[in-house]
């Protein structure tokens, strides 16, 4: 029989049971288990946190999807909803007034069905402001109403009193303290009266021509919602729209988006860490097979057979490693999902094994990308190696391995996040970081060699041995610095970005963030209002506001161009708030063109928000025409701004250059922070200037605060786990050089080295490797984090020197301790035993 007839699979399978004592194989297996478990647990966790976040976000519209209508839901679409496997409830909102004696208050009535709210909860208060609140998930009882505190204040009513609404009287059963789907637009300024849908008819307020808006709240499984959305999209008539939680509240959705990107980053970091661990151990694994490969060739095995044998062996290691890794991931994420469920106060659906496929794929790709090229290279070992290793030196094709590894990491990173910008930056950090780390490592090692020569015997024997070991294993040391450096870069980056993210959120929900808007202040009233606020110690910036309707784009009248009208959509259906300011606000960023300078005053120029530019497909230099009380005003776009709506400050889609709108009657708007004890100032102001309206966004702020606090917990959870996984991976990587270290230590001990010297040598060696890797990692991570903060997260960044010191200290200590641990065996037993064991 010839060698070709024998099945490589059978041979590999038989070898499997016999290779229990293969040290390098074990290390590869452990690295694989840790890598798969880390990626699996992080990706599972990010999935769970994501679904928790989506649920949380759904509270902002009290549903998973909201269909906004101009009339009650028609039968055709009602049937369609029933068939879609979702639940739905109707909602009607209309303006009205409530009056008591002379006092008339404009209110916004919301009539809801039994299932309201489908997502989130309402917060009620039965007593005066400051008394305990309760959360409920149902509509008011028929014949009763839940009303905003402002109505009680204005009408001098209390809970339990009767409220006249149209033709009927309703009992005020509670104060509506928090209504999650209140929204933050100026359209919702009137205080709320929440009643049962069944009570609407009795009010007699809804007749032909009444200004009511209708909506259908929809909730169901994510897939059903996605399908339904696509299904309903073509049925939308003018004035109708579909709204998701993310679209309803920009501040919340921005927070969710950032959290989402952070979770992607954490998953990416897990992938890169896994790559580093596998790459390090794969090299060692391949090297340990060289003798076996040479022997097999001597015994007559052809390259093809050896290739198949190695491939099968790797496949077996892969199957076992991935299986064990998935098991660890599944167990870990069970615990994690309990934590998430507790943090978000929600029930999460059970996880499926199928959801772990990215981790399994990661393991497979890492083996194919890192371990296989190293083995394939080992396959070329000449058989003469069995006679003398010097006969069998073969050129290293390391570049091929690194290229394959890089391709694997990029593919995995892109698959893990589907966020190409983020992936590009992380890959750039990995590649650039590798080059920088390699250069720094060689420089440091050259420096070490010079120091060693200069010190000579002035250094103690321990330090001399440590420095000599670094110089002797120059390439291995450099490789280790690069590997540790990349791992640490990823972890440091996560630490820094987490800090920036949390700091950014803290700024969003700062205790003195504006919680009231005052609108409708006339030009004459503005100085007086400013005086009153200043006297009360309240800071406020006033912005003029002129309302105008967009009529033409670049000279083309929207009325004459159906396509343009369709494109402009809402921008033409309602009047826009136009304003002007001299200096660019801190929450605005110019993305194209230039902000106005002094020469632009009085010139017909404007600055528009990016969303307007995108919708109208216009750029700097194009012009827009607005109709302001019958007068057309055309201005050229001087700049395009990106507005950070999460600031919850007054902001404007369209800003004219100062002086252009002076001739039109403007009202003023201001946003300010009103502490609880200054509530009286605002109430007095409103009584003095009855035309001024107050918008209270405290409830929205509370909602944002709660969400961000929960997101922060989630981020900390993911971060903590990734950090732990990273440390485990680094420790596994440290094991890669263990065999060589052991052999050397045993030899040195046999030659008379004291245990103390060996310990000192290991500490010196590991400290230098750790310090070089950690220092470079801190620099690269900080640079990458700044890029990520500015370009990906749209956040401010801060230098945190204390973080550097802690990170470098901890990383160096971990590396040194793990080095010492690996030495333990050698120090415990006689030199001869260690030497024989290490052989």
């Amino acid at each position: 029989m010839t060698a070709e007839r024998i099945s490589a699979f059978r041979l590999a399978w038989r070898q499997l049971g016999r290779s229990r004592r293969d040290g390098a194989g074990w290390i590869l297996l452990i690295a694989l288990v840790v890598a798969v478990a880390a990626v699996g647990a992080v990706s599972q966790m990010t999935d769970r946190v994501r679904s928790a976040m989506v649920r949380q976000g759904a509270a902002t519209i009290a549903a998973d999807l909201k269909l906004e209508l101009r009339a009650p839901l028609d039968d055709e679409r009602s049937t369609r909803l029933d068939a879609a496997g979702v639940q739905h409830h109707s909602l009607t909102v209309f303006p009205s007034v409530v009056s008591r004696e002379e006092e008339i208050t404009l209110v916004s009535v919301k009539a809801v069905g039994d299932g309201y709210p489908m997502r989130g909860t309402l917060t009620l208060r039965r007593g005066p402001p400051g008394s305990p609140t309760e959360t409920v998930r149902h509509a008011p009882e028929p014949g009763t109403a839940w009303v905003a505190q402002r109505i009680l204040d204005a009408q001098q009513l209390d809970v339990g009193d009767e409220l006249s609404l149209g033709d009927t009287q309703l009992t005020i059963a509670a104060v509506l303290a928090v209504e999650p789907d209140r929204g933050s637009g100026f359209a919702n300024i009137a205080p709320r009266v929440l009643i049962r849908q069944a009570d609407v008819a009795a009010t007699g307020l809804l007749g032909p021509g009444s200004r009511a808006s209708y909506a259908e709240l929809i909730a169901g499984p994510p897939e059903a919602i996605t399908t339904l959305r696509a299904d309903l999209e073509p049925t939308l008539a003018a004035g109708e729209r579909l709204q998701t939680p993310a679209e309803s509240n920009r501040a919340l959705s921005r927070a969710l988006e950032r959290a989402d990107v952070f979770l992607d980053l954490a998953a990416l970091v897990a992938v890169v860490l896994a790559g580093v661990a596998i790459a390090l151990t794969a090299r060692q694994h391949a090297e340990s097979r060289l003798d076996e490969i040479a022997l097999l060739k001597t015994l007559g095995a052809a390259r093809g057979l050896i290739a198949r044998l190695l491939a099968w062996q790797l496949a077996f290691v892969g199957a076992i490693g991935i299986g064990l890794g998935l098991g660890v991931a599944a167990v870990t994420q069970l615990g994690i999902s309990r934590l998430i469920a507790r943090a978000f106060e929600i029930e999460l659906p059970a996880t499926s094994w199928l959801a772990l496929w990215p981790a399994a794929a990661t393991g497979a790709i890492l083996l194919a990308g890192f371990a296989w090229p190293a083995l394939a290279q080992a396959r070329a070992t000449p058989p003469a190696r069995v006679l003398a290793r010097s006969l069998a030196e073969h050129g290293s094709r390391a570049r091929l391995i690194y290229a394959a590894a890089l391709v694997s990491v990029v593919a995995l990173a892109a698959a893990a996040t589907r966020d190409l910008t983020l992936t590009a930056w992380v890959v750039a950090a990995t590649v650039g970081g590798t080059a920088l780390l390699w250069g720094a490592a060689l420089l440091m090692l050259a420096g070490v060699e010079r120091v060693r020569q200069r010190l000579g015997h002035r250094a103690g024997p321990g330090l001399r041995l440590g420095l000599a070991a670094l110089s002797r294993r120059r390439n291995a040391s450099a490789l280790q610095i690069v590997a540790f450096g990349i791992g640490l870069t990823m972890l440091f980056m996560l630490v820094i970005v987490r800090g920036d993210l949390l700091a950014g959120w803290q700024a969003d929900i700062a205790a003195d963030a504006p919680n009231r808007f005052l609108i409708n202040i006339t030009r004459q009233q503005q100085p007086q209002v400013a005086d009153r606020l200043e006297a009360a110690g309240l800071e406020a910036d006033f912005y003029p506001l002129v309302r105008g309707r967009l009529t033409a784009v670049d000279g083309t009248a929207i009325a004459d161009d159906a396509e343009l009208a369709e494109q402009a959509g809402e921008l033409t259906r309602r009047e826009l708030n136009l304003s002007w300011i001299e200096n660019l606000k801190a929450d605005n960023r110019i993305v194209a063109g230039q902000w106005f300078d002094a020469a632009d005053t009085g010139q017909p120029k404007m600055s528009i928000d990016t969303s307007v530019a995108e919708r109208l497909d216009v750029d700097v230099g194009d012009s827009l025409t607005f109709d302001i009380t019958g007068t057309p005003i055309t201005a050229t776009i001087e700049s395009i701004r990106e507005i950070d709506w999460s600031s919850l400050q007054a902001n404007f889609y369209v800003l004219f250059s100062p002086g252009v709108l002076d001739e039109f009657a403007a009202t003023y708007i201001t946003s300010l922070y009103v502490p609880d004890d200054a509530h009286g100032t605002i109430a007095a102001l409103v009584r003095e200037f009855s035309n001024i309206s107050v918008i209270d966004i405290a409830a929205i702020l509370d909602q944002l605060t709660t969400l961000i606090e929960r997101l922060s917990v989630a981020i900390e959870l993911v971060f903590g786990f990734t950090l732990a996984a990273g440390l485990v991976v680094l420790l596994a990587a440290m094991q890669a050089s263990r065999a060589e270290r052991l052999r050397e230590a045993a030899l040195l001990r046999a030659l008379g080295a004291r245990s103390r010297w060996l310990r000192q040598a290991t500490i010196a060696e590991c400290l230098l490797i750790g310090l070089c890797a950690a220092l470079m990692a801190a620099v690269i991570a900080q640079a990458t984090s700044i890029v990520l903060a500015v370009w990906v997260f749209d956040l401010g960044y801060a230098w945190r020197p204390h973080l550097w010191l802690i990170a470098i200290g901890v990383a160096t200590a971990v590396i040194a301790v793990s080095g010492l641990l690996s030495l333990r065996d050698v120090l415990r037993q006689p030199a001869w035993t260690s030497l024989r064991a290490a052989d």
């Binding site: 029989m1 010839t2 060698a3 070709e4 007839r5 024998i6 041979l11 038989r14 070898q15 016999r18 290779s19 229990r20 004592r21 293969d22 194989g25 003798d291 076996e292 022997l295 097999l296 060739k297 001597t298 015994l299 007559g300 095995a301 052809a302 390259r303 093809g304 057979l305 000449p382 058989p383 003469a384 069995v386 006679l387 003398a388 006969l391 024989r836």
Partner: protein, 226 residues
Amino acid sequence: MSSPALEAVDLSKTIASGERALTILDSIGLSLNTGDSLSIVGTSGSGKSTLLALLAGLDVPTRGTLKLLGRDLTTLDEDARAAWRTGQVGFVFQSFQLLAGLSALDNVTLPLELAGTDLAEARDIAHALLAQVGLADRLRHTPRQLSGGEQQRVALARAFACRPRILFADEPTGNLDGKTGAAVIDQLFALNAEQGTTLVLVTHDEHLAARCASRCRLADGQLHDG
């Protein structure tokens, strides 16, 4: 007279050493008949291992031709040489070259498996050979649990497992003490005689060399009689 089992003509090996070329073997000519035994002696660094690698087809010469068992190996690539070696050529190495993770029995079974022998049959053959070299009670032991002499006896059993037509031995007693080495060599020659194998033995041990039918000496890259 039988046809030569090994015939080398003008065999040379030159390697690059820094900027200049270093000639290790220079125009070696050699012929060995089937069933004969030949020892090649030389000092350390004389190129004995390199010559053995060339003669066994484990490495390729820079110049010259080599016919082994009637086949010109210099015309074959590495894979073809490996395939041709299967079951025909056996080896014994100075450093034993046993696979650390495998038991004694598995190490001996390996070449039989590679030659496509049924596993049960391969195990029987390996078992018998290990018994023959006195290791019947050490079948499950790994190399690390065996002494140097025992490891070399496992290597002997492995070398003869496929009943090779020619056996190459590279300093087979180099890593063993005198007494153990002598015992191993006795077993090597006993198995050789039993299977009628052609033997090429490389050593620096004159006593061991003297046990072969013919002997030559490698010095300065060239082969000399005696």
